[in-house]
Symmetry: C2
Subunit: 369 residues, 2 copies
């Protein structure tokens, strides 16, 4: 297929450091290329890909010291995308809702993956207005606030199979990886480690918005002898940092739409102890690839008994469900269904007994892959 | 004509307090209604108009304590505008560049008035990309950074003829009206008044972004016995505040795209002493409706000699050039020309000797009303 991937311009694809969406777009793009498809990536000019790159801006926006107007550059990119639309079989958008009004005028099938949390109040009226937009969620939980939208599928994120190495033997610490922010609850991770008498190593960045929270709530907790704070780490260092941990602690307190670090952990063979929030029950099999807990007592108990989780089972769950190749194959099924739906819309006089998409205007509502 | 006016949603139309663009859209809309046209106003639901109002959001965004996502609501509005486009003879946009990619897909003629400063670095590549967009500037000076764009006309802002009363006799003070910010140079106004030995009354608001500047640079100057700072005033109070002044001081230090307060002053019969920046030479006739100066020495001299300016000449200049009816008539000429251009584009085999728009794709480049 001729596929266009439209990435945000805030980070390069893949990003140098943080940037969940751009990272997933990179994995998907390369996996589609591996599967033999003709992929065009609309992204910042400092991106690296084996697809055809259409550079929509010279360099990614977030770290550009000239502080470019993000809206200007995304507007120009979308205009280029829709100008080239007839050359593609499908346009796959990862830029929130920027393109919705343009999709109406586009004969090529369009699909949007929503990467963020969807419980912000303005998103409900927006998606009622644009209810015909074909959407993909990254977890079933994520789509709950927009239940009436035209969800074609849930496609969990995937990682290249060999990005993380299986680490068969656990080290002597728990790991916390991500951002230090109130909803990520690193304070809970510290409490669990202390109660279980186990070391905790924290590899996390502090965004400017969270600096006051970090200084007030977290820094005082870091002096405990079992706790080690090592700041932000890169992709390469993550492999051993997560892989050598007894477990990844993921004690979140918000509706996490996906949580890439959980599958990074499984890829290393490291079980996950996570609060029952957002996507967690969809990614972790309680008792098999980690423990899903509801409170601190359960979390401490899970930490003490983490040896009962088989690390190989974690790695196998990753390989079975969360590789970028599987992600790409799931998206290819969505693209195909979308193309069929377009064809059916164009030819409404087809035989009603013929197998195929339903007869409603939104033939794929409630279908999930 | 059937005309759609598309306003920003930050303020109601007209705004309750500050909000230059929404205020001008209101004056234009009501003047077009007065001239017998069928006008639809896309704006926030708390707007007041004699046109047909399409409320794009319940209440204007800036003062809504729920802090709505501006982008969501503007996106929905634009989608409604383009859905209704076939019902109009012209769509007139006042929302910066948000709609540019959609204009390509719209058979109805579209025109955009750019209300802001245009020397921001990202606007040049944006307008090179969208060079076919039909634009109106609010001063010739404003368009300089985007000289290669398709400018159809400069249409100066206008005020309803009776909004401000002619004040034949001057009081004993100079007036400064607007924002306290570095580029508005209220410090210069204070220096002029002190040097001329004349009272200065300052009616200005301080935006949050300018609070530190105000405290550090301006507040220490306000204790001088000739200076009185009265804060922000409303439309009603402005009439006498400006009308009773000997002159309005407008000592700006930036490329002001228009400067509505200058024509408010002329409407009151109050001459303007202004720095030669941005739109100033297009609005003020030096020696007739005020003085245009290049430095402090000239400004102090102008202040001392301001009695030589005939207040009636100021009011007459306003009535001759800057009423909202004249603004509406100028825009009607633009709409008509735009419609002719569309017709010509659709019928390229017309007689080349026939009078009408030129044969280039951008028949109105360089034309100004």
């Amino acid at each position: 297929m001729k596929i266009a991937q439209i990435a945000p311009l805030f980070e390069s694809v893949p990003p140098l450091a943080y940037g969940g969406t751009e990272r997933v777009v990179s994995y998907l793009t390369e996996a589609l290329v591996d599967l033999g498809h003709e992929v065009t990536l609309f992204a910042s000019g400092d991106s690296r890909t084996r697809a055809r790159l259409v550079p929509a801006v010279e360099r990614s926006l977030r770290l550009d010291p000239r502080q470019p107007d993000w809206h200007v550059w995304h507007t120009m990119m979308l205009d280029r995308v829709f100008a080239e639309a007839p050359d593609f079989d499908v346009l796959h958008f990862h830029v929130d809702f920027l393109h919705y009004p343009l999709v109406r005028h586009c004969p090529t099938p369009c699909i949007t993956t929503l990467h963020g949390r969807l419980d912000l109040p303005d998103l409900a009226p927006l998606h009622r207005h644009f209810r015909e937009q074909a959407l993909v969620s990254i977890s079933h939980s994520q789509r709950r606030p927009l239940a009436g939208s035209r969800w074609l599928a849930t496609v969990p994120h995937g990682l290249p199979q060999d990005l993380y190495r299986f680490h068969p033997g656990a080290g002597d610490y728990f790991a916390f990886v991500g951002r230090v922010s109130p909803e990520k609850r690193v304070d809970r991770a510290i409490e669990i480690a202390q109660a279980a008498g186990m070391r905790l190593r924290i590899a996390a960045k502090v965004d400017r918005a969270d600096e006051a929270y970090f200084e007030r709530e977290i820094r005082p907790l870091l002096s405990h002898p079992l706790v080690e704070y090592i700041g932000e780490i890169d992709q390469h260092a993550k492999n051993d940092f997560i892989g050598n941990a007894k477990a990844l602690l993921f004690p979140i307190d918000w509706p996490e739409p996906f949580g890439l670090v959980m599958i990074e952990s499984l890829a290393c063979g490291t079980p996950v102890i996570a609060w029952r929030c957002g996507s967690v029950p969809e990614l972790i099999d309680d008792g098999v690839t980690g423990r899903i807990v509801n409170n601190m007592t359960q979390a401490i108990e899970a930490a003490r008994g983490i040896r009962s989780i088989d690390r190989l089972a974690c790695r196998q769950a990753f390989e079975r469900r969360f590789t970028s190749r599987q992600m790409a194959e799931r998206y290819l099924a969505v693209y195909a269904a979308l193309g069929d739906a377009r064809a059916a819309e164009r030819n409404p006089h087809r035989d009603p007994d013929e197998p195929g998409p339903g007869s409603s205007g939104h033939p794929f509502s409630h279908r999930e892959s």
